[in-house]
């Protein structure tokens, strides 16, 4: 195999390129004016020799202006009298009268560089194509997710409507206990639909991202939200052999998103019920509290929600990690879960300019403490009193 096999060299001007041909190169002799109409699709090197300065510079200008030829290495055969201006445009200078071997070596080096640049360009093209495919996949996934959200929304609306009919006795008489249960079903379906209405966030990722925005602040009785949540889990707790209790002494209101606060409560109560062994206790408390620090806005007081249990607790070294998305502690190994619930609690609390921490509980296990400002007013038309 010869040194320059497969190499295509454009020789512009007067130069005996016999050495290049003997080394296996395909040499195309051209005048500069013919180059643009007759050139090969891709030269590995261009050798300029024996042209006047004016024609040489003009040719180099055209080469540089053409994105197809701009990067092709240029060798200029130069003598001591060759203009420095022209020499400066060369990728490499070849002394006039240089030995054949020198010219072959120069062209070999230029061809190597051209092939490397071509391989890089091809790789870039492949990466761009792959990026376009991935972008298409992402779009398709987003569309699939939107379609899924839509389908879930339809099913929720159907379930909600029939639950209302059952509640109102359309399908036959219901007793008070049945009506109360159906009210809870209706309320849960309404909350689920409200969560789905945070549509764009859900369409682009896991539902937890919706927690980072407070959709709508209402003046809400937080103790009522706690009572509603506890009523959802009373039977579940009883079946698990756990005592679930609500501890509060006074009504407590706060400007907050009631749907998101219920999410906090549900996630914390579910977490407590999961990790508390049979025979244990879970207590939810709500009270007014003094803010731990000034936050620079009109915060008159905090609402403190505490969910305490008699479970295994959370080690001090895990008390920050436990709120990170996807994190599951050693104690979680045998319990179902994806490590999302507590991260949602954290995100909602932060979105409300509040906080959540975990401490030791007087019951012997963990106490998750959420604090939210009672009154964070914003000058938007969204604020309204909850009837």
């Amino acid at each position: 195999m010869k040194e320059l096999d497969g190499v295509i060299v454009g020789v512009v001007g007067r130069h005996d390129a016999g050495a290049l041909e003997r080394a296996g190169a395909t040499v195309v002799h051209l005048d500069p004016e013919e180059f643009w109409t007759a050139r090969e699709p891709s030269y590995h090197a261009i050798v300029i020799a024996g042209l006047s300065l004016e024609r040489s510079l003009a040719f180099v200008r055209e080469l540089r202006a053409d994105p197809r030829a701009r990067l092709v290495p240029r060798a200029i055969v130069a003598s001591p009298s060759t203009s420095e201006k022209l020499c400066a445009t060369a990728s490499v200078l070849v002394p006039a009268g240089a030995a054949d071997e020198a010219l072959v070596a120069v062209v070999d080096e230029m061809a190597l560089r051209a092939r490397s640049a071509s391989a890089d360009a091809q790789r870039i093209l492949e990466l761009e194509q792959r990026a376009a495919e991935l972008s298409g996949d992402i779009d398709a996934t987003a569309k699939d997710r939107s379609a899924l959200v839509h389908d879930v929304r339809v099913l929720l609306a159907v379930a909600f409507g029939f639950a209302c009919n059952l509640r109102d006795g359309i399908n036959g008489p219901v007793d008070d206990q049945q009506r109360a249960s159906l009210e809870r079903v209706v309320a849960a379906l309404q909350d689920a639909s409200a969560l789905l209405e945070r549509g764009p966030a859900l369409a682009s990722g896991p539902g937890v991202r919706a927690a980072k925005r407070v959709a709508k602040r209402l003046n809400v009785r937080v103790d009522d939200l706690v009572a509603e949540t506890i009523s959802l889990f009373t039977e579940t707790a009883a079946e698990a052999g756990l005592a679930l209790a609500f501890d509060h002494v006074e009504p407590v209101s706060a400007w907050c998103d009631p749907v998101q606060i219920k999410q906090i409560l549900v996630n914390l109560v579910v977490n407590a019920l999961k990790f508390t062994p049979r025979g244990g206790r879970v207590v939810v408390a709500v009270e007014r509290a003094t803010p731990k620090s000034a936050r620079g806005f009109d915060a008159r007081a905090n609402v403190r929600i505490t969910v305490s249990d008699s479970g295994p607790g959370v080690r001090p070294e895990d008390r920050l990690r436990v709120f990170e998305r996807g994190v599951r502690l050693g104690r979680d190994a045998e319990i179902d879960g994806q490590g999302i619930g507590l991260s949602v609690v954290s995100e909602i609390a932060l979105a409300h300019a509040g906080s959540v921490e975990v401490e030791d509980s007087a019951l012997g296990g963990a106490a998750f403490v959420v604090e939210l400002p009672v009154d964070v007013r914003r000058r938007e038309s969204e604020l309204e009193e909850r009837p």
Partner: protein, 123 residues
């Protein structure tokens, strides 16, 4: 009040309206479900229902367009727009189209029945 009244229910997802149909029939209303705007307009022309409950997001002809056509046939037919779209602009478009009531899904059928009763009482 419901005796003799017929209600046209329009949604490309008919299962969404079945619970409403169930409730209305229990109260003595006659009901028909169609699944697109063109069928709704045709039904209004042929059957002259007492009232129309119309979804917005439907292929080919959306609820606002269908509402305009229905009102052009008989401007006295009450139209309730029932939609999952929550943008305030949607209320505006519903009003522009001539709708009498705008309700968001998921909707308590008791609320829909109450609004239907109110609209038909005025006819």
């Amino acid at each position: 009040m419901s005796r003799g009244h017929s209600i046209l229910l329009v949604d490309d997802n008919p299962q969404i309206l079945e619970f409403l149909q169930q409730r209305l029939r229990s109260l003595g209303y006659r009901t028909t479900i169609v699944t697109n705007g063109e069928a709704a307009i045709e039904h209004v022309r042929r059957e002259a229902p007492s009232l129309v409950v119309l979804d917005v997001t439907m292929p080919e002809l959306n609820g606002y367009q269908a509402c305009r056509e229905i009102k052009a046939i008989d401007r006295k037919i009450p139209v309730i727009i029932l939609t999952a779209k929550v943008d305030s602009a949607d209320r505006f478009w519903a009003k522009q189209a001539g709708a009498d009531v705008f309700l968001n899904k998921p909707v308590d059928p008791a609320v829909v029945v109450e609004r239907i009763g109110g609209l038909l009482a005025n006819r």
